[in-house]
Symmetry: C2
Subunit: 345 residues, 2 copies
Amino acid sequence: MMSPLRLGVLSLVAAFLFADLAGGARADYLVSETGSFYVGGRTVTLNDLPKRELVFTPGTPPVAVDPNGQFEVEQMYVQFVRLASPKARYPLLMWHGGGLTGVTYETKPDGKPGWQQFFLNQGHDVYVSDAVERGRASWARYPEIFKSEPFFRTEKEAWELFRIGPTWDADPAKRVAFPGVQFPVEAFDQFAKESVPRWATNDAATQSAYDALVEKTCPCVIVVHSQGGNFAFTAALHNPSKIKAIVAVETSGAPPASADITPLKDIPFLFVWGDNQNFYPFWKGIRVNIDRFANQLKTAGARVDVLDLPAEGVKGNTHMLMMDKNSDDIAERIQAWIGERGLMK
Amino acid sequence: MMSPLRLGVLSLVAAFLFADLAGGARADYLVSETGSFYVGGRTVTLNDLPKRELVFTPGTPPVAVDPNGQFEVEQMYVQFVRLASPKARYPLLMWHGGGLTGVTYETKPDGKPGWQQFFLNQGHDVYVSDAVERGRASWARYPEIFKSEPFFRTEKEAWELFRIGPTWDADPAKRVAFPGVQFPVEAFDQFAKESVPRWATNDAATQSAYDALVEKTCPCVIVVHSQGGNFAFTAALHNPSKIKAIVAVETSGAPPASADITPLKDIPFLFVWGDNQNFYPFWKGIRVNIDRFANQLKTAGARVDVLDLPAEGVKGNTHMLMMDKNSDDIAERIQAWIGERGLMK
């Protein structure tokens, strides 16, 4: 057990450590617990499947294996770092986008600290999750449990879809990035290691797991990227009083225009957008849809802010702006917005 | 930047925080960085595969998707928590067993802190990895890249193989555990969520990634479980001067008796074993093989210790002893052994 004297000293220390963080300086942070848990999921039993032939050692004959039995499936993995003396009123949940995992928010592909570390430095308890089917959440046999085949994103698709540049090539020297792009292009192949397969048929299970996460961990603030957006907006519709703010980073989906979004009127929203969307009909379409949703939120009475980086003179950001060279600059703007919403102590 | 005064205060604080940890008390710990990286892997290009039909939304017609392109595959994921003032001389690497990920060492299935947290509390920089094909390391299309089908461990197999008890049943009330078992049986289904599929044909890529991890992160101490054992012993053979100690927890494989293991003679080894092995010919066979390896190490001149828990009167531990109710007691014995080897400052 820790003595009252020791606790008192720790509080003083915490105050001392965080004293100059407003200036963006990094400091060490005092952690009470690093850990993880699973939420969501269900139990499935497979029966009557034929035995499979598996090769256990290349060059040796296949061995018959029985695939039948009971399995836990469709859970979500959540990792947390809890501070001894958080400066934020609520935990910060960081939700990734499609074909990726929570690694999105960890160290950047160029080895520099990412947003998880930034927001820990700023005094948030941080929860980084892997959605159903991704990373440490694991995946299940298809088509018996998951109802479709997975698909694997190519490096070419990542380069183009994430707006790093107009032309990908197998030879890194021949790849064409946007002028002044902020993504560390020399680390692109390192980034490609973060890709995980995705299924198109697990949305209901994924939403259910996110809802369970909100139920367990919130009230909270959510930072959400790309495909995760609609899961966050829907989770907020399911449990509006538990969400204290949503930072929607390059989110790609939203509830339909016909949805009643008045339950979201007390939640502040910050929409964050990178550069070069206008070169892509795909991104222009997404932007139109999310702008429509943002306007609906405003009409309903919600506080809505838009951090349109190129409009503010910050050029060259990609879809993966938490990995871009100026990721800390963007995070500082988000942190300032969180502070202005009264969400820091 | 942090001032020299501030750094001095932090050092004092760290000394103060760690002062009473020898007694097993928990305290907060000062972290300088939480982050992650990938090691190993290779670039693969798929050509000439037919387009696949994928169902993107259940009930709608399948869409043709081109699976060809360039991918990064066979990398390993490594997450680290680095302390501001580590008390250990070297980082502690924690390697998981078969069909599992680094989550093995995080919070236990019953929600209590696991070994990652224990060894952070003791002042180690801790690196927890997901081997090739597992968790955040991701996996690759088969049979085109991975050369076999994955297999999925059933809950029944986990209950029996991990020596939780003699009889599994779908109804938790009908499961039979060993008398006095230390595993938190009420959390068994939660534990089953940690399972990930495994392949039998990725050993060479996995060894190569572990070797790259040692090259990048060591000198170090390795805690390794189950299937991970032979990867650690082989990594030590490939790079003996970089491994300062190996804690082999219920390891299941070892280099063959014909291997020249004299390069390992300067590495201290601690072999840790749980209870109830004698009920299983499988485990008796493994024990004979690992005991043979341990004796070879002794003959070669290595320091070899065996923590045979039931022989020391600690009963009921399973194969997953880092998740058992007395996991901290076992970790304290490991920590004492690490200290006795001169590996703490």
